[in-house]
């Protein structure tokens, strides 16, 4: 009798209870508890295989389209690549001699080199980007030494960093996401700042000195502050400078990310993340 009464009450207030659950979830998410983090990672692991299976026909379709598109441009691209190859061969020779010179000088000065990074390649399973968030799900997890906070690249530049890491799948927070903060610097002037996403197409450059001379076309790279990310990873170019804001156009084509490289850089646990400002905006 009592059980049926409780059931009736629950039915009556189900809508209110579910609304409350939604708001409690948002509040818990805001506090970024370990519980939410772990639950979210497990949930990503459960949900992602569904997307991974569904992706197969879509991937085939996309590949067929790309193949046909490439075919029509093959001759022009071939000419371009031949010219680029000649140019790159010269650059490669020059880089090799500079590397040798650099090693000799480093030895002479007794310079301690930073730890070398390892790269893990992962396939992108799902991607989302709208007014609310910008992220990717990639087929890589704790099984392949992925860790929260590691930086993610394509062949052109930085895409984001690992946010939720499950056993098999991980969520990547893109540099355009509102929660993304990455310590960066202007390549030629070494002026430091933070690259902050705001769910717009091009992220903002913030916390730069007022006196800094930042111009459109300046290259932005990771600064390597606090040793969280390796320094010098390409991010993009300054695309817009005004009194109000500085915008950066990413090198990586964030609309077309099929495979990513995850930089496995030796981290000193979570403390380093907050030190470098690589924390989610809600923690600030």
């Amino acid at each position: 009798m009592q059980l049926s009464h409780i059931r009736q009450l629950l039915k009556k207030f189900a809508l209110v209870i579910l609304f409350l659950i939604a708001f409690v979830m948002m509040l818990l998410n805001k506090t970024d508890t370990v519980l939410i983090d772990k639950t979210s990672s497990v949930a990503t692991d459960i949900v992602s295989p569904v997307v991974d299976v569904l992706i197969l026909p879509a991937r085939l379709l996309a590949n067929a389209y790309d193949y046909l598109k490439d075919l029509s441009l093959a001759h022009k691209q071939n000419q371009f690549l031949k010219a680029e190859n000649r140019r790159l061969r010269l650059v490669s020779e020059r880089a090799r001699s500079l590397e040798i010179e650099n090693r000799l000088l480093a030895k002479l000065l007794n310079y301690t080199r930073p730890d070398e990074e390892n790269l893990v390649t992962a396939r992108v399973v799902a991607e989302e980007g709208d007014a609310f968030s910008h992220s990717l799900i990639a087929y890589t997890g704790k099984n392949s030494t992925a860790q929260k906070g590691q930086i993610v690249l394509t062949d052109k530049g930085v895409v984001g960093r690992l946010d939720k890491v499950g056993q098999l799948y991980s969520k990547i927070l893109m540099i355009t996401d509102i929660n993304s903060r990455i310590p960066v610097m202007i390549e030629n002037t070494r002026v430091r700042g933070i690259l902050a996403g705001d769910n717009e197409l091009n992220p903002k450059l913030v916390f730069t000195p007022i006196s800094a001379d930042i111009k459109e076309g300046d290259r932005i790279v990771t600064s390597g502050v606090a040793g969280v990310f390796p320094a010098g990873l390409p991010i993009g170019v300054v695309s817009h400078v005004s009194k109000r804001e500085i915008r950066v156009l990413p090198f990586a084509d964030l609309n077309k990310v099929e495979y990513v490289k995850i930089v496995s850089f030796p981290l000193d646990e979570e403390s380093n993340l907050s030190e470098a400002g690589v924390v989610e905006v809600r923690d600030e």
């Binding site: 809508l15 579910l18 939604a22 979830m25 948002m26 805001k30 949900v47 705001d198």
Partner: protein, 172 residues
Amino acid sequence: MNEDWDETLKLTLQKMLPLLTSFIWVALSYMPFDFLLPTNIHANVAVVCVYYWILHRPDVFNLFSVFWVGLFEDILTSAPLGSSIFQLLLLYVLIGYMVKYFNGKSFELLWLGFLPLAFVVMFARWFVVSIYYATFLPFPLLMFSFLLTAAVYPLVTLINVWVQNKLMIDEG
């Protein structure tokens, strides 16, 4: 005995079809179809699915189904957990008020009726998430998403109609 078991399984699956179809639609909407559309424009198919199934099969797609679809979408994205659930629950409430006007209406009128509802719930989510981050999220992206959602409505509805007519048995 076995036949009874088969029958029960079949019935259960039938009842779950709207929910499963919605899950598949939501998963499909997050696939990297880069060759068709830029990544930053995303159709909110969860809204289309909830609108369709609540209007056409409220007997098998109830409040809890709405919650599960919202949770599924929240897990897939990096948006604040619970924001999609909120959006879809709000749609459920609004449909509850409007259902008497939608009954027996043509596809075109239902499509037309969907537009203000979709806009209101998407805007409400945008507003709540903006408060969450204490900053206004890019409104043009929301508008593009709304327009794309309106554009994919016929396709999603067409497939849902097919699922309802071909795969589900009307118990009534």
